[in-house]
């Protein structure tokens, strides 16, 4: 079990991101506490990616504030993110992980051992010397996960990590996410797949048009939705 997370809880207070007249995030107040995975759900354009980027510290809110364990503007040493379409660096699979380890400040003497460990964790040990860009979509997502885990994060953000993957590749990713969460890493994941939200999430946050419409435990969210938007979303109706 890891040491207590230094970046948690992540607190968003009235966090707003505006681009011109459009609010990508609209006065979101949310606490991401240590514990089981939180899943952000909502249709395309709901603000899931923007919220993840704000919580990661990649994007500053135009209004409101974000704090990590009560502090603002702390270096993202204990946070990691897997982007929706991760870019593979022009190196081998192992080279990508080594790069992430070096960027995270891991001692050089540990690179080889930890690279092998991380590749094994995501099931890519046999592809260690293969150019990362030649891997399949699912393999690239797993490699992106290994790269993120190289940061030894206290909190791991995953932006629709299984979008456009087949069921087998999706299961592989979900298994890794479950293993990572079991090691004490706080997972915050976005998806518009309700089945996945049920399988992975312990807490659900529904976003729509940049606003947090409803949040609660997974059981409560699916069994007793409190808002019309949540009821429609769960019923598979279009939220426009």
């Amino acid at each position: 079990m890891r040491a207590p997370a230094s970046d948690l809880p992540i607190t968003l207070a009235e966090a707003t991101v505006r681009v011109g007249d459009v609010a990508l995030l609209d006065r979101i107040s949310l606490v991401l506490a240590p514990g089981a995975p939180t899943v952000l759900v909502g249709p395309n354009g709901a603000g899931k990616t923007t919220l993840l980027r704000v919580a990661m510290g990649l994007l500053s809110p135009t209004h409101g504030r974000v704090t990590w364990d009560g502090r603002e503007a702390v270096s993202a040493t204990r946070r990691a993110i897997v982007l929706q379409r991760p870019t593979m660096l022009r190196r081998s699979a192992a080279g990508n992980v080594r790069y992430a380890l070096r960027a995270a400040g891991a001692p050089r003497g540990e690179w080889e051992r930890r690279t092998a460990e991380l590749l094994r964790l995501v099931g890519l040990e046999a592809f260690s010397s293969r150019p990362a860009r030649r891997l399949s979509g699912g393999e690239q997502q797993r490699l992106a996960l290994a790269r993120a885990l190289a940061r030894d994060p206290a909190v791991l953000f995953l932006d629709e990590p299984t979008a456009s993957l087949d069921p087998a590749a999706t299961k592989a990713i979900e298994d890794i996410v479950a293993a990572v969460a079991a090691r004490g890493v706080k997972v915050v994941m976005s998806t518009h797949d309700l089945g996945q939200a049920k399988r992975v999430g312990s807490e659900i946050v529904l976003l729509h048009r940049g606003r947090a419409i409803e949040s609660g435990t997974t059981e409560m969210f699916f069994a007793k939705p409190q808002t019309e938007e949540a009821r429609k979303f769960i019923a598979g109706e279009l939220l426009v």
Partner: protein, 230 residues
């Protein structure tokens, strides 16, 4: 027909005068490309990754300088290195070093402009990922240059092509002195004007062969590297 045969005989017999000219040409052009790369690649990367007032004007100027006329570059270097020029005390005029300087001035804008475009394109691709990995600014520049290395080979080849083919600058600053500053292109110009076509044609054949060989080697290295790194 006889002229063609004489040219071939010169090449095949490895004529010492011809070999000396070829050696000097390669030394001058490759050194100039190396110098230009040391300046042009970091400069291109810097312009690609920074935003400052007048950046657009700098990019347009750099792109325009790719077409800098060799005789103008030669004239500028001549004036700078001539006895009464600001760098006259260096005593470099009519030496191979002066030719290297002139060619580096011609080649650096080509390498810088192509590097700028290459690094900027890769930056668009890598930006979010490097930010997510919290990579420091200096390390980002090194990463982009390293990962763009196979594309940057094309910039170096374009620079080498320019250096190997030009005659206007080096004839002004080198003086085309036999056995000292005579290169393939200056020799071709001279021998043609003298009517010694076999040597001119022989040198022309060698020049074309060298350019093809260097491009083929670079292409092979690029393909092998891409197979390994993706």
């Amino acid at each position: 027909m006889n002229t063609d045969l004489s040219a071939l005989q010169l090449v095949l017999s490895a004529d010492p005068a011809l070999i000396a000219i070829v050696k000097l040409s390669l030394l001058v052009s490759l050194t100039a490309v190396l110098l230009a790369a040391l300046i042009g690649v970091p400069l291109g990367a810097l312009i690609a990754l920074t935003r400052f007032p007048g950046r657009e004007a700098v990019i347009v100027t750099l792109n325009a300088l790719m077409g800098l006329p060799p005789v103008v570059a030669g004239l500028a270097v001549f004036l700078a290195l001539s006895r009464s020029g600001p760098l006259g005390s260096w005593g470099l005029l009519f030496t191979p070093q002066a030719m290297v300087i002139a060619q580096a001035i011609l080649v650096a804008p080509i390498i810088a402009a192509l590097s700028r475009q290459t690094v900027e394109d890769l930056w668009v691709e890598y930006r979010d990922e490097l930010a997510a990995m919290n990579v420091a600014a200096a390390a980002r520049v090194m990463t982009l240059i390293w990962d763009a290395r196979f594309s940057l080979v094309t910039a170096l080849l374009a620079g080498f092509g320019r250096a190997a083919a030009e005659v206007g600058a080096i004839i002004i600053v080198g003086g085309n002195i036999d056995g000292f500053t005579r290169t393939m292109t200056t020799a071709i110009a001279l021998e043609t004007s003298k009517g010694d076509l076999p040597l001119a044609i022989g040198l022309g054949l060698v020049l074309i062969a060298i350019v093809i060989l260097i491009n083929a080697l670079a292409w092979g290295a690029r393909r092998a590297g891409e197979r390994y790194a993706g």
